[in-house]
Symmetry: C2
Subunit: 349 residues, 2 copies
C-alpha cells in the first residue's frame, strides 16, 4: 500500500529511540487494537500496564509504584509539572530547573501557565547553590535531570530533592533516556537514593520498547489524584492521563521489552554502549576535537557546522547540542562498525 520504506538505523546517530527488541515488536503487534485508556472495555491491556508499572518501579527502586505508560517523556514531564502546579499553595507557581532541562519543561510551563526559572550549570550539571538561590515561596517543583539530553550528565539528585522539600516543593527526576542506563552506574538518582516524588523514564528510549512508551512514576497514588477528571461514557469513572485513548501496542511493547531485558539485557546494552561512547570520544580527541567526557553513552564534541553538514549529506543522521556541537547518542542499534565508518567519513574533512 504505502510505497515508502522506513530508513534502516544503519546511519542514525542522532535519535534517542532505537529498534525495538523483537519480543517487544511482537507484543506491540498483538495488542495494536487495544486501548488501555478504556480499562473497562479492554481489561487485559490494563492488567499488562500494571505489570509494566511494577517493573518500572523495580528498575527505579520504588516499591508499590504509582504511574502509567505515557506517550513519551514530554507527556510525563508535563504531567509532573501539572501535579506540582495543582498541589501548589500559590497563585504564581514556579518550576525551578537547571538549564539542561529538556525543552518539554518549557512547553509544559507555557501550556500550564507556570513560570520556569532555569539556573546555570557547573560541569554540565545542575548547581545546587544556583538552584537554592532560585527557589522561593512560589516554587512548586524542582527538576533534576538524570541523563541530560545534550551531554548525558546526571544532576546531584539527593541535594536537589532536599532543597525542594525544604521549600515545600516537589522534586521530579527526568530520567527519560538515562533511566535504563543508571541502574548499572554509581549515580544517585532513584527513588531509594533520594526522597524524589515523580520520575520520567521512557521504555521507548534506552528501554528498547516501541514508540509510544514513555513512563511516569509517582511515589504515591495521591500525587496522581490531583490530575483526575471524570469520564462519562467509559466503564471506568476517572482518568489521570493526559491523553484519552491510549496505545495498547505501547503498553504491551514496553512490558515485553522490560520482561526480556531487565536486568541482564539492559546491563549488556549499557556496557556495550559505554564502551562505544568511550571509544568514539577517544577517537575524536585524537583528532583534536574537544569532547565532553561521556558519563552515559552520549558523546558531544566541537565539530564544526560545515563538517556536520557534509556528514549529513553523506547520509549520517546526526544532531547538535544547543551550542551547535556534534551530538552522538550510542543507542543499542549503534555498533562499533557504524562508528568506525562514521569516523572514517569524518577523516575526509
Amino acid at each position: 500500500m504505502l510505497e515508502a520504506t522506513p530508513q534502516d538505523f544503519g546511519r542514525v546517530l542522532s535519535s534517542m529511540c532505537t529498534e525495538p527488541c523483537p519480543p517487544a515488536r511482537a507484543a506491540a503487534d498483538r495488542f495494536l487494537a487495544t486501548n488501555p485508556g478504556d480499562p473497562g472495555t479492554y481489561p487485559e491491556i490494563a492488567r499488562l500496564e500494571e505489570r509494566a508499572v511494577d517493573l518500572l518501579g523495580e528498575i527505579t527502586e520504588l516499591a508499590d509504584p504509582a504511574g502509567y505508560v505515557a506517550t513519551g517523556g514530554t507527556e510525563a514531564n508535563i504531567q509532573a509539572v501539572r501535579i506540582a502546579r495543582n498541589r501548589a499553595d500559590t497563585d504564581d507557581p514556579v518550576v525551578v530547573a537547571p538549564e539542561s532541562a529538556h525543552f518539554s519543561f518549557h512547553k509544559a510551563a507555557a501550556m500550564l501557565d507556570v513560570e520556569i526559572r532555569t539556573t546555570p550549570l557547573v560541569d554540565y550539571r545542575a548547581d545546587p547553590d544556583a538552584i537554592a538561590e532560585a527557589i522561593d515561596s512560589d516554587t512548586a517543583l524542582v527538576v533534576a535531570v538524570a541523563g541530560s539530553t545534550e551531554f548525558g550528565r546526571v544532576d546531584p539528585v539527593p541535594a536537589l530533592a532536599e532543597l525542594a522539600h525544604d521549600a515545600g516543593a516537589l522534586c521530579h527526576v527526568d530520567a527519560a533516556w538515562g533511566g535504563f542506563h543508571l541502574p548499572f552506574t554509581d549515580h544517585d538518582w532513584s527513588f531509594s537514593d533520594a526522597p524524589i516524588d515523580t520520575m520520567t523514564i521512557d521504555p521507548h528510549k534506552a528501554g528498547q520498547a516501541p514508540i509510544p512508551a514513555g513512563g511516569l512514576l509517582a511515589r504515591d497514588e495521591s500525587l496522581l489524584e490531583v490530575l483526575e477528571v471524570e469520564t462519562p461514557y467509559l466503564e471506568s469513572s476517572t482518568q489521570v492521563t493526559l491523553t484519552g485513548t491510549r496505545s495498547g501496542a505501547g503498553v504491551a511493547g514496553a512490558l515485553a521489552a522490560m520482561e526480556t531485558l531487565w536486568p541482564d539485557g539492559y546491563r549488556d546494552n549499557h556496557e556495550r554502549a559505554m564502551a562505544n561512547a568511550t571509544w568514539l570520544a577517544d577517537e575524536l580527541r585524537e583528532r583534536g576535537y574537544e569532547v565532553v567526557d561521556p558519563e552515559l553513552p552520549l558523546v558531544a564534541a566541537d565539530v564544526s557546522q560545515s563538517i556536520i553538514d557534509a556528514l549529513r549529506r553523506r547520509g549520517w543522521r546526526i544532531s547538535r547540542t544547543g551550542a551547535g556541537d556534534l551530538r552522538i547518542v550510542c543507542m543499542p542499534h549503534v555498533t562499533r562498525s557504524m562508528l568506525r565508518s562514521f569516523v572514517a567519513d569524518l577523516d575526509w574533512y
Copy 2:
C-alpha cells in the same frame, strides 16, 4: 512472552475504536520504529504525515490543510483550546461549549487554566440561543460537536461558527468520531460548510486506523504557529505538537487506512453501521425502551442499570451515557449477528 491475549471484538459494543483494516495494520508494523516528531532523523514518515493531513483535508473539504496526526481526540481538543487561549486578547479566556462536549474539553480547561462555560441542549444538540447568551468579550473559543460521544448528534455548526466569529473568537469542530461518517450525510459540518478554524477528526476511531491516530486540522498554518516551542537537539527547529516523540505506526497506519477506504470503503462502513443502528433502535423500541433516534450509528436507550450489569456479566462490553442509559456504538466490527445475539441476551431480563 506475554501470556495474556487481547480479547477479540466479538462482544465489544462500547468502544469508539475498532479493528484496524489490514493494510493499516501492516503499515503500522513497518513504521513502528520511526518518529515523526523528529523529521530530520526520520524524513520518510514525515512525508507520509503530510499525505495523511492532505487526505484529512480532502475528507473535511479543506484545501491546503494545516495540522498533524495527534495521539487522539483529547490531544487535538486540548490543542484547539490552547490555540484559542494563546491568541486571545484577554487575561481570562473562556471556552463556550454545549453540554454535549467531550470530557477532554474539561481536561483542557483545567490544564490550560481557562474557564469552560457549558450551555444546555435542545434535542441533544447545541442551542445557538444558549451559546449566544454564554458568549462574552472573554470568549476565545466556541466548540461545536459533530457527532456527540453520548448520542451521535450534530450541532448546527454554521450557526455556531457565525456566533464565534461575530465575537472575535475561534470555532472548533469536534468530529473525532463523526468525521468519517459525516461526508455521507446531509449535515453541515465541514470546512466548506462553515467558516470554522480547527477540527478534531480521528483516524483511529471510525477511520479504522490503529491507535494512536487522532487528527488536528487547522484552516491555516498560522493557527498552529502560536503553539511553537524551540527544539534544540533535533534536526528541526520548532515543534507545535503536544507530545515530542510520536508514533510512526500511528501516522503510517492512518495514511494506509485512508488510502484504502476513502471514499468507497468509508461509505460502505457508514451505510452498514447506520442500517445496524436503525435495526437495533427498532428492536429496542419494540421491547418498550425509549430510544434516542440515531442520526449517526450510535444508539442510546433507557435500559436499567441492573440489566446493563447483567449483560456485562455475560461478557458484553457496553457503556452508559452520563445519565446512565445504555449506549451502543456501531463500529465497523459490530455485525448484525452480534447485535442479534445481544438482543437475544437482553430478552432474558
